[in-house]
């Protein structure tokens, strides 16, 4: 069956089975920037924004979010038009293998959109659903801190 979704500000009709997760449907329809890690809601590689809230797309049945606003990491910024947070992640060395990065960016974007000046404990809480097996998190947390200070300095939101 085909169901309508709004993905990265575009209305799309996607082919799906009624038992499929949002992660499966997105990846089957070309949104491969959403990564499949644990498929159990623990690693955060599959994070997307659902009506502006970060969710594990592997823990969402696609049928339940039809007509809702979905934003993947490419809706935040792309290779040729990166978002400020993505630029700072790259500049800080906050990604190594890069597999967790889409989820980390989505979580950081969601956190900074809600709270442009998070404390360290708020950063840890905001990223508590994301695992990284390479960086040891130090650079990731630093990238969020730096993103926050640049956003504050420029007096802009995480857009």
């Amino acid at each position: 069956m085909k169901i309508s979704f709004n993905i990265n500000n575009q209305n799309r009709e996607l082919e799906l089975n009624p038992n499929q997760t949002l992660l499966t449907v997105l990846r089957n329809n070309g949104f491969t920037e959403v990564k499949c890690g644990c498929n159990e809601g623990e690693c955060g590689a599959c994070l997307v924004l659902l009506d502006d809230k970060a969710v594990n797309s592997c823990q969402v049945l696609a049928m339940s979010v039809q007509n809702k606003k979905i934003k993947t990491v490419k809706g935040i910024g792309t290779l040729h038009n990166p978002n400020l947070i993505q630029k700072i992640f790259a500049g800080t060395g906050a990604d190594q293998c890069g597999f967790c990065s889409p989820g980390m960016i989505v979580a950081s974007y969601s956190l900074l959109k809600e709270n442009s000046s998070p404390s360290d404990s708020e950063i840890l809480e905001g990223l508590d659903g994301n695992l990284c097996r390479c960086t040891g998190y130090i650079k990731i947390i630093e990238a969020v801190r730096r993103s926050s200070s640049v956003l504050l300095k420029n007096n802009v939101e995480a857009e």
């Binding site: 823990q59 049945l61 979580a107 659903g129």
Partner: protein, 274 residues
């Protein structure tokens, strides 16, 4: 694996939804996390509750009314204005992770009552009520809902009704060896104080045999007593949580740990209010 022929229903009223779930194999869908964990092949239909307008928190003179579709994070964000909401939020903020808390709903967590739920202990300690629709429609205490086996009947949870309380001391905790592990148990303690004297107390643990336990003898013992660290030694004999052994932990291990944490939490409350 969920069936490929799964049917979805999107009712717009509670009676419609109640009617749908009377059929075998048709269950409610709120956040959906539990359904995906169990992946039961026996599920043939899902009744989505998103059109039932149950995503509200209403503040009334004597109570808060929390709709079943409110997510853990929505409640946590709302919780700053009142002490009992803060107690509930403190327990919920220890559950799962930020993105999962954006999906897990109050109603879904109550309906399934996983042993590891962080929700039940504070609700019972706060003497919360709940309104259900369907078989046995009515308003029940959360404690009654679990004890009387209503949890298994075919119904929809409409809302939680939380009595508005300001002046009381509380502690909640979730015991797990790793943050991402399901907890072995949850503890919630609330003490109504009149100066240094304990006017009322509720001591609850979940994750034990029969889902939860209120230590009523300990509660009775505390009422009328003045806060003192000596109470800790005396109360020990009234706190006897009974657990079931599992593949990782023996029941006696869990009992020992739970007792230690119970005393620690009570000790913190006493020290903070002496």
């Amino acid at each position: 694996m969920l069936s490929e022929n799964l049917k979805w229903y999107f009712p717009s009223s509670l009676p419609q939804a109640v009617k749908l779930i009377q059929k075998p194999g048709i269950i409610l869908h709120a956040g959906g996390t539990r359904i995906l964990k169990t992946q039961s092949k026996n599920i043939i239909g899902l009744v989505d509750i998103s059109n039932l307008k149950l995503n509200y928190i209403k503040s009334k003179t004597n109570s808060f009314h929390i709709g079943a579709a409110i997510t853990f994070n929505e409640l946590i964000k709302y919780s700053k204005e009142n002490n009992c909401l803060k107690m509930l939020a403190a327990a919920l903020s220890q559950a799962a992770s930020t993105p999962l808390r954006n999906r897990i709903t109050i109603g879904g967590s109550l309906k399934d009552f996983p042993l590891w739920s962080n929700l039940y202990a504070p609700l019972i300690a706060l003497n919360a009520m709940m309104e259900i629709k369907g078989n046995k429609s009515g308003i029940y205490s959360v404690e009654e809902y679990v004890s009387e086996g209503m949890i298994k009947s075919k119904h929809i949870i409409k809302e939680i009704i939380l009595p508005r309380k300001e002046e009381f001391a509380w502690k909640v905790m979730r015991f797990a060896l790793l943050k991402f592990e399901y907890p072995l148990f949850n503890i919630a303690i609330s003490l109504k104080l009149n100066g240094k004297m304990i006017d009322d107390s509720r001591l609850v643990i979940t994750g034990v045999r029969n889902r939860f336990k209120r230590f009523k003898k300990a509660e009775k013992f505390l009422i009328g007593k003045n806060l003192s660290l000596n109470l800790l030694n005396e109360i020990e004999k009234f706190v006897e949580p009974k657990f079931v052994s599992d593949y990782k932990y023996s029941s006696s291990y869990k009992e020992t740990i739970a007792k230690v944490y119970f005393k620690d939490l009570l000790s913190e409350i006493i020290k903070e209010n002496l």
